[in-house]
């Protein structure tokens, strides 16, 4: 008997009309598909590159390497308070404009203007070219024609998005759709204490998305992180989500929670009891004064509620925890079998040592789980590439895996159709 009611169709998979047949993961191993994704997905969709808190002052900036689009951008806060994005490239000879020591490493800081390291051309914070070295020796050069090349940039709920298309097909708000935009009623701006993790993972970006959009694996892969009493109970129970949602290319899984402080001693780790924290976050949640209903969060009304994982197409996840903290994931493709993974944890800033130690235990626990997931993916990638098996079954709790791979194929197919029409 299911613990949570399924939709009238009998399953989430059929409810979202995604088909029930086994899946093929050619989209995660094919070089051809990867080349198509660059254009069809990453140069068409709105991409989250950070949050407004990373740009606290006029002239605050950060760069973002976008290997999938073979480019780099710089995001900067102007004198008028506007957040703008530009291709990170000098108009003179094409040098990368903003970098330190290693051209391929991201950087951040605060500046009054950008100065190219090569010939000292200067650009204002709004991208305008303000100085050309030995300008009189150029031929009919008007600085007004040589501003930085802008990238479409917009902000939603403090999240900064860019779009690399010449003209985006949708506004950011339309792209995000109602399921996601409702979340703007969550008080993201209060959670500014930040842990930022990064790793290169030798797998296709979508396979790591898959790992965090189903929890079927959780009681098994992560069994040893918990005391044996907990693990065996969890494995026996399996995993069922109280709610899944799909809105256009985006999706959501919600989970029920536990109150670890109410569990028997042998069900929790000693360090979790000492720090009153762990995988689910600090046991003593900070006050956040918001209504989950207004934010479209905890759609099944679970009590206790665990988390909501919002999967924003293509490569961005916002995961809101019941214990009033959140984290984000980004998956930046580099090659068919490689991506850069970023995990960022956000807490209400600790007021004292006890709260800070609780955050530390949540962060350390996050990393232990992440390392297990990352290595499992490399093991999956290499075997998928053998093509020994080409059809893989998916169960109903893996419905979002099915949805994402369908969206990827749909976007690539749609792009190919448009190309055919234009040719």
């Amino acid at each position: 008997m299911p613990r949570w009611p399924k939709p009238p169709e009998g399953s989430w998979t059929e409810h979202f009309d995604l088909g029930t047949e086994p899946m093929n993961y050619d989209d995660s191993i094919s070089q051809e598909f990867f080349e198509l994704e660059r254009e069809a997905v990453f140069k068409r969709a709105w991409l989250n590159v950070g949050r407004v808190e990373q740009l606290p002052r006029t002239g605050s900036y950060f760069t973002k390497e976008l290997a999938v689009a073979k480019t780099s951008i710089v995001v900067v806060k102007g004198k008028d308070g506007e957040v703008r994005a530009f291709y990170n490239m000098c108009r003179h000879r094409g040098n990368k404009l903003v970098w330190n020591d290693y051209p391929k490493e991201e950087t951040s800081g605060t500046t009054r203007q950008f100065v190219c390291k090569y010939h000292a051309w200067r650009y204002d914070l709004d991208g305008a070219c303000s100085f050309v070295q030995q300008e009189q020796e150029f031929f009919d050069l008007d600085k007004a024609d040589y501003g930085l090349v802008p990238v479409h940039c917009d902000v939603w709920a403090g999240f900064i998005f860019v779009n690399l298309a010449k003209e985006p097909e949708q506004s950011l708000r339309d792209f995000l759709g109602p399921m996601v935009t409702k979340m703007e009623n969550y008080p993201f701006e209060k959670l500014t204490e930040r842990y930022f993790y990064r790793a290169t993972v030798k797998s296709n970006w979508k396979l790591y998305m898959d790992a965090f959009q189903e929890f079927y694996h959780a009681p098994i892969l992560h069994a040893k992180q918990s005391p044996p009493e907990w693990s065996s109970a969890a494995a026996k129970a399996g995993f069922e989500a109280p709610a899944y949602k799909v809105d256009g290319p985006h999706r959501l899984v919600s989970t029920a929670g536990v109150h670890p402080w109410n569990l028997a001693e042998d069900m929790t780790k000693p360090v979790d009891r000492v720090t009153r924290s762990g995988l689910f976050g600090p046991w003593d949640a900070p006050e956040l004064d918001f209504d989950p209903k207004d934010a479209g969060i905890n759609p099944a009304g679970c009590d206790p509620w665990g988390l909501d994982s919002f999967q924003l197409w293509p490569n961005f996840v916002i995961l809101v925890w019941g214990q009033n903290w959140y984290l984000t994931y980004h998956y930046w493709p580099v090659a068919p079998d490689e991506h850069v993974f970023e995990g960022t944890l956000y807490f209400v800033p600790a007021k004292n040592a006890r709260e800070r130690v609780a955050h530390e235990n949540a962060a350390v626990t996050f990393k232990e789980f992440g390392l297990q997931d990352a290595n499992t993916l490399e093991a999956t990638q290499t075997m998928l590439e053998s093509r020994v098996i080409e059809r893989f079954p998916l169960m109903d709790q893996e419905v979002l895996v099915r949805h994402m791979h369908k969206v990827a194929r749909d976007w690539v197919d749609e792009y190919k159709k448009k190309q055919d029409v234009e040719v």
Partner: protein, 111 residues
């Protein structure tokens, strides 16, 4: 005379201070990978029973006004957390089956 790193109230933890009062997660993770299980067990056994007292002591002072020795004590608590998975779960310094995988903490909050 040797200088002490920790507040005098926590002199019993001083033998661990030079090795484990580390300011960044990167240093603490490296120390974990470079340590034996016995070394981490000793740190764990010494700090776990003292953690509540340490937090109660530190909580009297706002987080951004901690003195150097108080920050060291806080960092020692972070190291206690850092070695807890090897001691409580893994039985080894590394995450099992994690191979060459890494996850670097690039930005972390103070202190």
């Amino acid at each position: 005379m040797d200088a002490t790193l920790l507040p005098s109230e926590f002199a019993d933890l001083e033998p661990f201070a030079a090795t484990w009062c580390l300011a960044t997660e990167r240093e603490r993770y490296a120390a974990r990978l470079a340590s034996t299980m016995d070394e981490m067990q000793a740190l764990y056994d010494a700090t776990m029973p003292r953690a509540e007292a340490a937090m109660t002591y530190l909580d009297q002072i706002p987080l951004d006004e901690l003195s150097a020795d108080q920050v060291h004590l806080l960092h020692l608590l972070y190291s206690m957390v850092m070695v807890s998975f090897p001691i409580e779960c893994w039985g080894q310094p590394r995450v099992p089956d994690s191979g060459a995988a890494y996850l670097d903490l690039v930005v972390e909050p103070g202190p």
